[in-house]
Each structure stands twice: as C-alpha cells, then as structure tokens.
Amino acid sequence: MTATAPAPPADPPAGAPRPRRRARYVVAALLCVGAIVALLVVGLRGNVVYFRTVSEAVAARPTDGGQRFRLGGDVVASSVSELPDGSMRFRVTDGRATVTVVHRGEEPALFRHDVGEGQAVPVVCEGRWGSRGTFASDRILINHGNEYEPERKNFES
C-alpha cells in the first residue's frame, strides 16, 4: 500500500507538472532495494538449507568447530525425560542416525502434547555439539508437515 497523502488542492498555475513529491518516491524505491539486498544477505547467508539432518550433523561434527547450527529430525517419543537440573533430554533421529539432545530453555506449546500422542514429532533444534556427543539445544521449533485432518474426539474429555 502506498501511503499517499491527499493531493494539494491546486498546483501553481505558473508551472510545469507539480513535482509529485518525487523525492519521496526515489527514497522509497531505494529503501525497497536496500531491504531486498538486506533480506538476501542476512536470510540466505549459509541458510538456504534451514537445518541439517541428523546424519549430516553427525558427519560434520569433527570439522564444524563447535559452531551453532540447526538440527532437524523426529523425536523418539519414548525417549523424553526430564533431568534434575530442569533441562530436557530426548533422542532425535532421521532414520539412519540418532543423537541425544539436551535442551535447556522454553518448551514449545505443542511439544508435550505431540510427544504424548506417541507420534514421531518433527523438530528443529538450535544449538551446538556439547559434551559426550550430545547436542546442546536452547530452542526447539516444531517442523509441522503439510497434512491436516480433523481432531479425533478424546473420550476422556
């Protein structure tokens, strides 16, 4: 939406077409170009692939130098447990490789519910390799699929 203020009532009779606030539109066009460049630079810098699969992450572990990355896979439903210090521990798998994740931080709203349903919950965890081959996560995103179906009625509710 271009925010155009109401046009001035009449232009000076003496002149050429009114300048049409052209400076404003030059600035606006340049700002748009700047925004596009910024988005592409920030957004796609090494991020065109949003997360690494478990196998890729395991393969890259010796060489990645402890940098932050996103790890994507399915939570093994039966593997979720809470540690005494309040962090959460679970295993994430891509079918070929499996990694233990220790998560410290907010728990997404749907996480407990989905895990409780016994489904393989697809997640993306942000963090880095920690000690003894575990992945230290501080943020869990739920990577929802493109399938939708009506809620089954729970008998107990």
């Binding site: 939406m1 271009t2 232009d11 009779p13 003496a14 002149g15 050429a16 077409p17 009114r18 300048p19 049409r20 606030r21 052209r22 539109y25 030059v26 606006a28 066009a29 748009c32 170009v33 925004a35 596009i36 988005l39 592409l40 920030v42 957004g43 796609l44 991020n47 065109v48 692939v49 949003y50 997360f51 994507g72 907010e106 997404p108 709203a109 749907l110 989905d114 489904q119 993306v124 943020r139 869990i140 995103l141 739920i142 990577n143 929802h144 699929g145 493109n146 399938e147 939708y148 179906e149 009506p150 809620e151 089954r152």
Partner: protein, 267 residues
Amino acid sequence: MTGGARRAGLLGPRVSATTGVATAAALVALVVFGLAIAPPDEIQGDAQRIMYLHVPAAWAAYLAFGITTLASILYLWPRTRSIVWDLVAGASAEVGVVFTGLTLALGSLWARPVWGIWWAWDARLVTTAVLFFLYLGYLSLRRLPGTAESRGKRAAIAALIAFIDVPVVHFSVNWWRTLHQQATVFNPELDPQIHGVMAFTLWLGVLAFTLTYVYLLDRRYRLLALDEDREERELEAAIRARVGPGPAGGAGTTAGTTAGARAGVTP
C-alpha cells in the same frame, strides 16, 4: 479526448456492484466455515484455522502479480499498447502488495503458536518478504517522473523482472530445505493432504479471496484512471496558463500533443 473512457471502472458499474455483493457473501461464508464449521486440526488445534486465510491470501498475491505481468506484456507489445494495460498493471500490483503483506502477517501469527517463533530465516519466508519489497519498489518506480510512455515502459519492464520471484517463492519449499511446510494441495505429487470439510473451507477461502481480488482490482483501477485523467487536465491547464491567451489554435495544439504523449497510444 479519451478521458471519458478512462473514468470508467474495468467491469462497468453493474458488474462491479454484483462482484461486490458476491465477494461479501463469499467472505461471510468463509468466516462461518473457517471459524465454526471446519473442525480443529488433529495436531495444530484451532491455530490451523489461520490457514484458511494465509493460503488464499498467498494465492491472491500470486494472481495479482500474474495479472500485473500479463498487463505489462500487453503494454510492451506495440500492437496492444494502451494506457489501460499500464493502469491495470499498477492497480493489480498494489492489490498484490496488500495481499503479500497479509500473507506475511498471517504467516507470522500462525508460526508463533505452531513453530514457536514469529519469523524464521528460511527460504520461503525470505523470498516472500523479498516479493513484498520488489512490488513496493515497483509501485514507487511508477511514481517517478517521465512522459507517460517512458514511465509505462519502465514500469512494465520492472514488473517482468519482479515476477521472477513468484515461482521462486512457490517452489522454494521444494528446492531448499525449509521450516515452512510444502504445499498442501499443489505439492510435487499433486496429492492433496487435506480432505472433507477442511478442504472445502480452503477452496472456499481461495474463491472468496479471488473475488476480493477482482473487486479490489476494479475499484483500484478506476481510482487510478480518475487520477490519471485529473493529472492530464491539470497539465493542460498549466500549459494553457503558461502559453497565455494566444491564438486559440496554437494553445490547443500544444495541449493536445502533450496530453497525447502522457497518455501513450490510446486504442
């Protein structure tokens, strides 16, 4: 003078009013189905209801930019060049920017409850934000000075370049690994992952937003045509004032020539 023709809407008053009524009816039906009749999703619960707006808004944005592209081609093609196509392109792009903004905002409101974040730097989201700024930039470019024909050609070429991003946005979820899910209906397998009332509600949303687009395009086109018409009259008045009360024929010729140049070749 062609002013009279360019003061009309695209559809004509009666069709336009009918479209308005149909649009309102479809939107009301969408509210009823989207918020009351469609069941909550198995996994996402009620949050999934945002899909019935988010997906249609994205579709309407694609459609709007598609029409902008088509109109721009018709403007660039010498045989079909007409100010009408330039105005259609501009009006459609503005409506498209509104729908793209809605798509982004609705996506964000959907992402927070289901992903856990408002925004992700993934390929789908970034390319969609780029789309928003591409067409916002296009709308600014349209306002830069020049004769009608040079402005029209400049805008049409920019529109063709901007449209490249539309397929990139659509296929981004297949080309790159994203947090954003793949298309539910137009996925690579063409195997819809939604059924029954939920699918019906989604299609109703697409219909309602298509009608909304057509209605907005018609209204926005008419406003653009009126503005163009007024600018032309103001220019003529200004030229007449500058040339002064000389021989009537002389002033008239000057004004006519300039107005013709501004309006481009009219059909």
